[in-house]
């Protein structure tokens, strides 16, 4: 690969989002036109950098070129020509545009625009991945498990709505900020937790959470989300074994956990807790913090974790929260208490095919000494596993449970 091609790939990865955000702001939020122009600029760079060498500041070069393409595109259209004349008046390229702080402000605006509640939830995630993270359409289609054509159409439609309905390109005013930030945090959270999230998407989710926490220092849940992602990510090195199999938290080698990430996460949680009443991300981060600080699975502060899940149930009525509370209660007070909670969850027949419920039941029944019950629950859970990795992990758990006599020595109840 030539130096120019390498520089271009580097710029695509690290500068595209900033270039796009700057151009979009200059266009007062016309993301559709900005996307086209930035795409043009990268095509131009592929030719020009090979011929004339890589510019000193690729980001500035790309922004200036993209802006020229904006004006070219507008001039071709008679109606838009007047707009082009108006836009062309002030010299576009200013040093100020490439100061770190204004680049970050533009990215924050971009994030709020892409996550506007007037867009469908699917479109928000797709647009964020495209216009803030800078993934290509095929990459996004893979992460969101959609066809490429459908994904392209969804993006085109969302950008057209931003322009046609005039969704503003700005951080919302104070009275709207709370609810809008919640939508943004949700998108960033899903970016990290999505089953199909790639390592790149996870990294970007953390970067965006850092950006939100840095630029909105008073937003407690932004710090909460950052803490949650960092504390979860700290465990990533231990999540897969040498064969690429998922390792449950209970059996992870805690010496592999990333201590620096944990420290940073704990500091973010501290800031969040000083700011206000704990919302859902702060509570989840607090749970992750207790796991991070526990020397072993058994030696974890289960009563406090059970209490935090009870608090989380007030924000989030999804059954996975109750299932997790049942597991924590089982470790705090004994398996029977945990199973009683799971039985209440299982009374809702709609959850018959709900994997976490059956996986948790299997584990608690095993610990209660009900081997046949545990085995039946494992069979149910294995049948529901959506990926090979999860299926193998559950099959392994089942084999361990079947050999419970020897296992109980290794993992005493």
């Amino acid at each position: 690969m030539s130096a120019a091609a390498r520089a271009l790939e580097e710029a695509f990865r690290h500068e595209r989002a900033a270039v796009l955000a700057t151009v979009t702001r200059r266009l007062e939020g016309d993301l559709a036109l900005a996307e086209d122009a930035v795409q043009d600029a990268f095509v131009a760079a592929a030719v020009d950098w090979e011929r004339s060498g890589v510019p000193d500041r690729p980001g500035a070069w790309l922004t200036t070129t993209a802006w020229r393409r904006v004006l070219d595109r507008l001039r071709r259209d008679r109606v838009a020509a007047a707009r082009a004349a108006e836009l062309a008046r002030p010299a576009f390229y200013e040093e100020a545009d490439f100061e770190r702080s204004s680049l970050e402000d533009d990215q924050l605006r971009m994030l709020f625009t892409c996550c506007h509640p007037a867009l469908s939830p699917d479109a928000r995630t797709a647009l964020t991945l495209r216009s803030v993270v800078g993934l290509t359409v095929p990459e996004i289609a893979r992460v969101l498990v959609t066809g490429e054509t459908a994904m392209e159409q969804r993006l085109v439609r969302a950008r057209r709505k931003i322009a046609d309905a005039r969704i503003p390109f700005r951080v919302p005013a104070d009275e709207l900020l709370g609810e809008r930030l919640a939508v943004v945090l949700r998108v960033v959270y899903l970016l990290y937790t999505d089953r199909h999230a790639t390592a790149r998407a996870c990294e970007e989710a953390i970067r965006l959470a850092r950006l939100l926490a840095a630029l909105m220092p008073d937003a407690d849940e932004a710090h909460g989300l950052l803490a949650l992602l960092l504390l979860t990510d700290a465990r990533r090195p231990a999540r897969l074994d040498a064969d690429g199999m998922l390792v449950a938290l209970a059996r992870q080698d805690r010496s592999c956990w990333d201590a620096a990430r944990t420290r940073e996460g704990l500091a973010a949680l501290d800031r969040a807790l000083h700011l206000g009443r704990p919302g859902p991300y702060i509570v989840q981060a607090a749970i992750a913090a207790l796991h991070a600080q526990a020397p072993t699975w058994e030696d974890t502060d289960w009563p406090q974790i059970a209490g935090l899940y009870a608090e989380l149930e007030r924000h989030d009525t999804s059954p996975v929260v109750t299932v997790n509370r049942a597991v924590a209660v089982a470790y705090a007070d004994g398996p029977a208490e945990g199973l009683a909670i799971l039985d209440r969850v299982a009374a809702d027949r709609r959850l018959d095919r709900y994997l976490p419920l059956h996986a948790a039941r299997a584990d608690l029944l095993r610990r209660a000494g009900d081997a046949p019950g545990a085995d039946a629950a494992y069979v149910k859970a294995i049948a529901l596993a959506p990926t090979d990795a999860e299926r193998s992990a559950l099959e392994w758990e089942r084999r361990l449970a079947q050999g419970a006599a020897s296992i109980s020595r290794i993992f005493p109840r």
């Binding site: 506007h116 046609d164 309905a165 005039r166 503003p168 919302p172 005013a173 709207l176």
Partner: protein, 116 residues
């Protein structure tokens, strides 16, 4: 930017004229309209007579009129506003202030000004 706000309600749970609830709601409409005029965003508004609406279709030169629409829909269009505001956030903020947002729905349509 101009936006058309289409306001609907469900006839089934309508407040009755002559009740204190009805009068209180009227007060809110008047106050809201006055606020819109004061802010200079109001281009036009009107109530509609949903039970007297007629639908027109023309196919191959043959014009057919149909009574309605109203019978088959639960939510009935009863009023509209045209507002001139900077962006969608401003338009949806006004929409949220209408009583219809509480008991019915408000559709916010950006108006395509190149066509007019």
């Amino acid at each position: 930017m101009q936006y058309l706000l289409l306001l609907t309600y469900r006839p089934a749970d309508n407040t009755q004229e002559g009740t204190p609830e009805f009068d209180a709601e009227m007060q809110r409409w008047h106050a809201l309209n006055a606020e819109m005029r004061k802010e200079g965003v109001l281009v036009g508004l009107s109530g509609l007579r949903p039970d007297a609406a007629t639908t027109v279709r023309s196919q191959g030169g043959e014009v057919t009129l149909t009574d309605g629409p109203y019978a088959e829909t639960k939510e009935v269009l009863f009023s509209f506003y045209i507002l001139d505001v900077p962006d969608l956030d401003a338009a949806t903020a006004w929409a949220a202030k209408t009583p219809a947002a509480e008991y019915g729905s408000v559709e916010v349509h950006p108006m395509d000004q190149f066509q007019t």
